[in-house]
């Protein structure tokens, strides 16, 4: 096994992990504040991918503008979903919210099929993004580096917002104790909305990256990566943003290594491997690596 192959795998793991991390952050933020597993979160990735495609193809906008627009589209979608589906159910049992999010997800996927048809579309990136970049003898492309760099940038930006700003403080306070946060004068509805908007914006950008990396998108594309990002969030401890980031990279890396290092007969089992890990972690390490919650899960 050459060093180049190993570097390939590492870069592949980092790229995949970057996308998982960005999506997992949203899962964790939303769960952290209202204890909702938002199943529809993965479909924001799909929406982000299609918005990017539309803007690049139809309007030929410059990439930084497209990235901003994807952020905005994801965030806007999160806002609408929260207002329309989840706010009316606040206070209901957790499972109710989960079923509702499943319904939202099915609705978004099928709306996608209805409007865009289930046919996969080619996702064209500007040439310079797909140009090869030589690095330690590995076969990587500029887009891989761009994905990792922007994911790390966005994730640290978000951590900074959570750690340093007034809104971030309000989010942490709300996540810890919703009623007491209200007694401090925090408008929790706005805080929850902010968590949805920020988390969904990152998921939207992840859609951009997904399209750029794999070159094809379809309306059901958010389902599996969404679920896997949830697994990443569970690995890190749902509710913890740094945990979600780490979980994303851990999962991306181990998935790529699972496929790359084991004999090829095992490769088709990668999804089984991921969800087996999920069940195992839920059973033996219910708070994940970073979760601190003492809430009963098992």
């Amino acid at each position: 096994m050459s060093g180049g192959y190993l570097t390939d795998l590492l870069v592949g793991g980092l790229t995949l992990g970057s996308m998982y991390a960005l999506v997992a952050i949203g899962f964790s933020m939303i769960y952290g504040i209202i204890r909702l597993i938002n199943f529809a979160h993965g479909d924001i990735v799909m929406i982000g991918a299609f918005v990017t495609l539309g803007l690049v193809q139809a309007l030929d906008l410059p990439l930084p503008l497209v990235a901003l627009a994807t952020l905005a589209a994801g965030g806007g979608m999160g806002l609408i979903i929260e207002r329309a589906a989840f706010r009316p159910m606040r206070g209901a049992p957790q499972v109710t919210g989960f079923i509702a999010s499943l319904a939202v997800s099915i609705m978004l996927q099928n709306l996608g099929v209805l409007i865009l048809t289930a046919q996969p579309r080619n996702f064209v990136c500007p040439d310079w993004l797909s140009a090869p970049a030589r690095l330690l003898g590995a076969n990587i492309r500029v887009i891989d580096l761009a994905i990792v760099a922007s994911a790390l940038g966005l994730a640290s930006g978000l951590m900074l917002v959570i750690k340093k700003t007034r809104l971030g403080m309000a989010m942490r306070a709300t996540a810890e104790n919703l009623d007491t946060a209200r007694l401090m004068g925090i408008d929790v509805n706005r805080t929850i909305m902010a968590a949805f908007v920020m988390g969904s914006a990152l998921a939207g950008v992840a859609g951009f990256m997904w399209g750029g990396k794999f070159g094809q998108i379809d309306p059901l594309l958010g389902y599996v990566p969404g679920l896997k990002s949830f697994v990443a969030a569970v690995i890190g401890g749902v509710g913890s943003v740094p945990g979600a980031i780490l979980g994303g990279y851990l999962l991306g890396m181990s998935e790529v290594l699972f496929v790359g290092l084991l004999p090829p007969v095992y490769a088709p089992y990668r999804d089984a491997f991921v969800f087996g890990t999920l069940i195992l972690i839920l059973l033996v390490l219910p708070n994940g690596l970073f979760g601190t919650s003492t809430e009963e899960r098992a």
């Binding site: 403080m169 942490r172 104790n177 209200r182 007694l183 401090m184 004068g185 925090i186």
Partner: protein
């Protein structure tokens, strides 16, 4: 300053408050005592907007002679903005936030930077231990320190009316005495105080007036001393034979 008029509250199928009426005058310390489950915490949460009453009004007059508002229609954050701070039962400091951040969250609705840092300074003078622990997570504080933090946090809003739910709960007697002395001090400096207490002896000693709540309605009221001498109250809440 604050008047609860014929408040009814239902939680699920239980009728928790059944026509509760009471008043807190400007500058007073008013205590609400009663057994567990009588509805004391529910009363306080109704005032601060966490619970919406089924019927009745919570009339609040922030400024003497000024306009009156019905709090029962307002969201909690509007009520905080109107100058009411509620220090909840069990202290409820944000344990993953630092001590300093807890105080800042207490002043969440304020935008005057200088005022905030002045009041931060004042909290540290009031409780020097909080300055020492400023960057520690609030969860690492002892119970007494957390109570101090919870009060200091409530004060960061510069309340006109301070609501305290069981300030003595789970604290050592020495610390309870300190907290109660502080409440008296705050009141002397102009803050109106409305508190709920299990420790009826201390509460009646401190309060100007008090109400006894039983099964969701007020059964007795009077000055702190009157109630402390009332044989029924003594038997039921002060743990001594009449």
């Amino acid at each position: 300053m604050l008047r609860l008029e014929d408040i009814h509250v239902h939680r699920g199928r239980t009728h928790v408050l059944k026509g509760l009426t009471l008043a807190v005058g400007r500058g007073e310390i008013v205590a609400l005592i009663g057994a567990n489950g009588a509805g004391k915490t529910t009363t306080l949460r109704t005032v601060s907007g966490l619970i919406r009453p089924t019927s009745g009004a919570v009339v609040y007059q922030p400024e003497p002679g000024g306009p009156q508002v019905d709090l029962s229609r307002l969201a909690p954050e509007k009520i905080v903005a109107a100058g009411i701070s509620h220090c909840p039962e069990g202290r409820q400091v944000f344990s993953s936030l630092s001590v300093r951040e807890n105080l800042l969250v207490g002043g969440y609705l304020r935008r005057d930077k200088e005022g905030i840092s002045r009041d931060l300074e004042r909290s540290f003078e009031l409780f020097p231990i909080l300055r020492e622990r400023g960057h520690q997570a609030a969860g690492s504080l002892s119970g007494g320190e957390q109570m101090m933090l919870a009060i200091a946090r409530a004060l960061m809003n510069r309340p006109k009316l301070l609501i305290l739910d069981e300030p003595s709960l789970g604290l050592a007697p020495l610390i309870v005495a300190r907290i109660f002395a502080l409440i008296a001090e705050l009141n002397a400096a102009g803050t109106t105080v409305f508190l709920v207490e299990q420790n009826a002896v201390m509460a009646l000693g401190l309060a100007h007036r008090a109400y006894v709540l039983e099964l969701g309605a007020i059964v007795l009221s009077g000055t702190g001393r009157e109630l402390a001498e009332n044989p029924e109250v003594r038997r039921a809440y002060l743990g001594s034979a009449a």
